[in-house]
């Protein structure tokens, strides 16, 4: 007996294999195994396991069920959009396909339980049967009776069965008004930095040494750990940036042992990655492309104005148009938006008093007509001036991205001002592939 896991109900070799497969979760797995008890004994009717995203809940359960060869039904509440699918899954896993075929169309819980009891009387459980429900928080949206019934399924079907619920939300949020059978609660804490290091280091690259990969992970965690402890996310980021890390090595500039140089090379890069990829400002694919074009295109544009507002497609263009209308002098519209404007140089319409930047002066009011005129020239498809466009303008006002300046009773010529920053609009225009800087008078 060398490992932490040890239980008389299960072979030591199996438990050892489990232990190898779930680094840093031995304690929780051990706890779970001791609660589950020997296979032929009864286990508690329901166990509720909670912990943050990617804290290893599903993984541990999956490995335990698989390696210990326990009879189980793995159910994801995301997949089971209707209860019928859930019933079918459970019956199929325990009693085979034929059992599920007895289910009527849109079966009720009553029918499921009856069918289960019928099947159970023919093949009673020799070992505890487990139903593992992932993303159990979705059960709260299901039929109100489903969750309380699942929690006491053992009593209802009178079988040696245990329902294990996995959730990212605490149990208090589940409890119905009139109470229900209280499950055992088990918490999976977040991985610590050391644990993350250990886990991430296991998937090293075949053509590089394990130490190198481990030191890479160390650098990665140094940058990301403060903002992200999600293992899945970190693993993705690690994979995404590893090539960049290895670049000096492949080019032969640096040796593997010169960690410091490697660190100097990758650190700014990772920081940029954090500002863009992690908060989903650009997709991973875009990021990879940006990495490739970086050398030609000069410095990376690491912009951090994260748009927390998700806007409809045309609203984004309306906002862009509003921004342009607010910060460009009206005279210059012709230069920017008329196709064949001839040669108009900046100096041609530079007035003496306009030396200061419009951005320092702040947004200027503009009329609706001008906004629409700019909108139609920046948006690349033909849009009819429908009510939907106009209602989007009022939505932008409601969202306080635009401010209406004129009186509300002035219906025929409302005036607006754009009240967002350059960072914000740059982020917005990036999402629609519109290079706003090219259209701003200040930056000519």
């Amino acid at each position: 007996m060398t490992g932490v896991l040890h239980h008389p109900g299960y072979a030591d070799e199996k438990l050892q294999r489990v232990e190898q497969l779930i680094p840093c979760r031995e304690l929780q797995a051990g706890m779970l195994v001791s609660l589950m008890g020997q296979p032929q004994h009864y286990s508690y009717p329901s166990i509720f396991i909670y912990g943050h995203r990617a804290s290893g809940k599903s993984h541990v359960l999956h490995i335990l069920m698989k390696e210990l060869e326990l009879p189980h039904a793995a159910v994801s509440c995301v997949e089971c959009v209707s209860a019928a699918l859930l019933y079918e899954r459970v019956l199929t896993s325990f009693f085979g396909r034929s059992a599920a075929s007895f289910l009527p169309r849109s079966p009720s819980l009553s029918e499921f339980v009856r069918l289960y009891r019928h099947q159970r009387s023919q093949s009673p459980a020799e070992q505890t049967r487990y139903i593992v429900m992932e993303k159990a928080e979705l059960l709260r949206d299901a039929d109100a009776n489903l969750l309380p019934a699942l929690l006491r399924l053992q009593e209802l079907v009178d079988d040696n069965i245990t329902v294990i619920l996995l959730s990212e939300i605490v149990w208090e949020k589940f409890r119905p008004n009139t109470g229900c059978f209280e499950p055992l609660l088990l918490h999976f804490p977040d991985y610590s930095k050391g644990e993350l290091q250990q886990i991430l280091s296991t998937d090293s690259h075949p053509s590089y040494s394990a130490e190198l990969y481990s030191s890479y992970i160390n650098i990665l965690l140094g940058v990301f750990y403060s903002v992200c402890r999600d293992l899945r996310e970190l693993r993705h980021l690690a994979a995404l940036n590893f090539n960049k890390f290895c670049e000096p090595l492949t080019e032969g500039k640096v040796k593997e042992t010169e960690t410091h140089k490697l660190w100097r090379n990758i650190e700014p890069h990772l920081k940029k990655a954090m500002q863009t990829v992690y908060i989903r400002e650009v997709s991973s694919l875009q990021w990879e492309q940006m990495q490739q074009t970086e050398d030609e295109g000069g410095a990376l544009r690491g912009l951090s104005a994260h748009t927390h507002v998700e806007l409809p497609y045309y609203s984004k263009f309306l906002l862009i148009a509003a921004y342009l209308a607010s910060y460009n002098p009206a005279r210059t519209d012709k230069r920017f938006f008329v196709k064949h404007h001839g040669k108009i140089r900046k100096t041609n319409f530079l007035k003496k008093n306009e030396k200061t930047s419009n951005h320092l002066l702040g947004p200027k009011p503009f009329a609706l007509d001008r906004l629409l005129a700019i909108f139609y020239s920046v948006v690349d498809s033909r849009v009819a001036p429908t009510a939907s466009i106009f209602s989007q303008i009022s939505s932008l006002v409601t969202l306080q991205l635009l401010t209406q300046i004129s009186h509300t009773d002035q219906l025929d010529a409302p005036k607006y001002k754009c009240s967002i920053s350059l960072d914000f609009i740059s982020a917005v225009s990036r999402t629609v592939n519109f290079d706003i800087v090219k259209y701003l008078y200040d930056f000519l």
Binding site: Q38, Y50, E168, T178, G179, L184, L185
Partner: protein, 346 residues
């Protein structure tokens, strides 16, 4: 295979622990019926008497068992039924229908289930009924026929009774209680609920047909009694195969219950709630820590178990994040910890 108990059977410790786990797990996890429902002897006698009157003398009746969650309503009823069915005649004669408000979510489903449990699917066949009452009357009538001229007594158990009150027009409740009151057939209706205000849920016409007999399961234990209960719940009976081990185990449990720090935990549990189920939760955690190398429950185990039972889940979930803020509130990254926090639903 009932082993004759021999005084000097000695099993290896591993085997003993397995047996111990089996016995106690059935008690804590599987609602194994106790020999005698502890602490509710009077109610048990009452209930048994009432059921017997229906089963033997053909009286109709209705009754509610009301008590908080995990207080032992279902156990009480099942104990009474078990004792009732020891009588061979009753066993042969009594029809049982068990419904649960969680499963039979409307009256159509309930009726289907009643038909099934009375084994009348073939009799009913494709018949179409005008009303619910007609259908139920037909079912009860069908039971009457056969070799006997009088009806067989039927027991309807409605677990989570309050949920049936939410069915449309309370048709099922109305009809069942109506039958039980009008003595068309000997029917006992027993409802189990955790809602003390259940009467307020009933419509007038339903209420007036109910006998207003209630069994309340509100525990009024004192702490010493609660302690005794804990000891009884953990102790092994004479039926345990290795008498020597059982004796040792029982004395270790006795020592545990006298331990100061364990008592503190039990007292906290006692003030928290006195029902069986929350006690079982605590004891399952204790039991899971019993192994071959440590075949006893120590006070430390009880402490650890109560820590697990009573831990603050929200604090658990927040721990990783709050820590984020503290460390990095002055670093340039701190606005980005929000996505981490937003994962939570607090």
């Amino acid at each position: 295979m009932s082993k004759r108990k021999v005084k000097d059977v000695h099993l290896p410790t591993g085997e003993c622990i397995t047996q111990l786990q089996q016995v106690l797990r059935e008690r804590f996890c599987h609602q194994r019926l106790p020999e005698k429902p502890e602490g509710v002897e009077a109610q048990h006698k009452n209930l048994l008497e009432l059921l017997r009157r229906t089963a033997v003398h053909g009286e109709s009746n209705s009754l509610l068992i009301v008590g908080p969650r995990g207080a032992g309503k279902t156990t009480l009823l099942r104990c009474a039924l078990r004792d009732l069915l020891q009588d061979k005649d009753v066993n042969k004669n009594l029809l049982q229908v068990h419904l649960n408000g969680l499963l039979q979510t409307d009256d159509r489903i309930a009726l289907k289930e009643i038909t099934r449990q009375l084994h009348l699917e073939n009799v009913v066949g494709d018949k179409v009924f005008g009303s619910f009452a007609e259908n139920l009357a037909f079912l009860l009538e069908a039971l009457k026929k056969g070799d006997r001229s009088s009806s067989r007594p039927a027991l309807f158990v409605l677990d989570e009774f309050d949920l049936f009150a939410h069915h449309k027009n309370q048709t099922l409740l109305y009809n069942l209680l109506d039958v039980s009151q009008s003595a068309q057939a000997p029917v006992a209706v027993v409802g189990l609920t955790c809602r003390l205000d259940v009467m307020e849920l009933l419509e007038k016409r339903v209420k007036s047909r109910f006998s207003h007999r209630q069994i309340l399961l509100l525990s009024s234990l004192s702490f010493p009694q609660y302690q005794q209960r804990i000891q009884a719940q953990l102790s092994l009976t004479d039926a345990f195969p290795d008498a020597h081990f059982a004796e040792e185990w029982n004395s270790s449990i006795k020592t545990l219950c006298e331990d100061k720090s364990a008592q503190d935990v039990f007292r906290r549990q006692f003030h928290f709630s006195t029902d069986f189920r929350s006690l079982h939760t605590l004891l399952v955690f204790c039991l899971s820590r019993v192994t071959v190398s440590k075949p006893v429950i120590k006070a430390a185990d009880v402490l650890e178990a109560s820590r697990l039972c009573l831990c603050d889940a929200k604090a658990n979930m927040l721990h990783g994040n709050s820590f984020n803020f503290e460390l990095h509130k002055d670093s340039i990254y701190w606005p980005f910890s929000f996505p981490v926090v937003l994962q939570l639903e607090i």
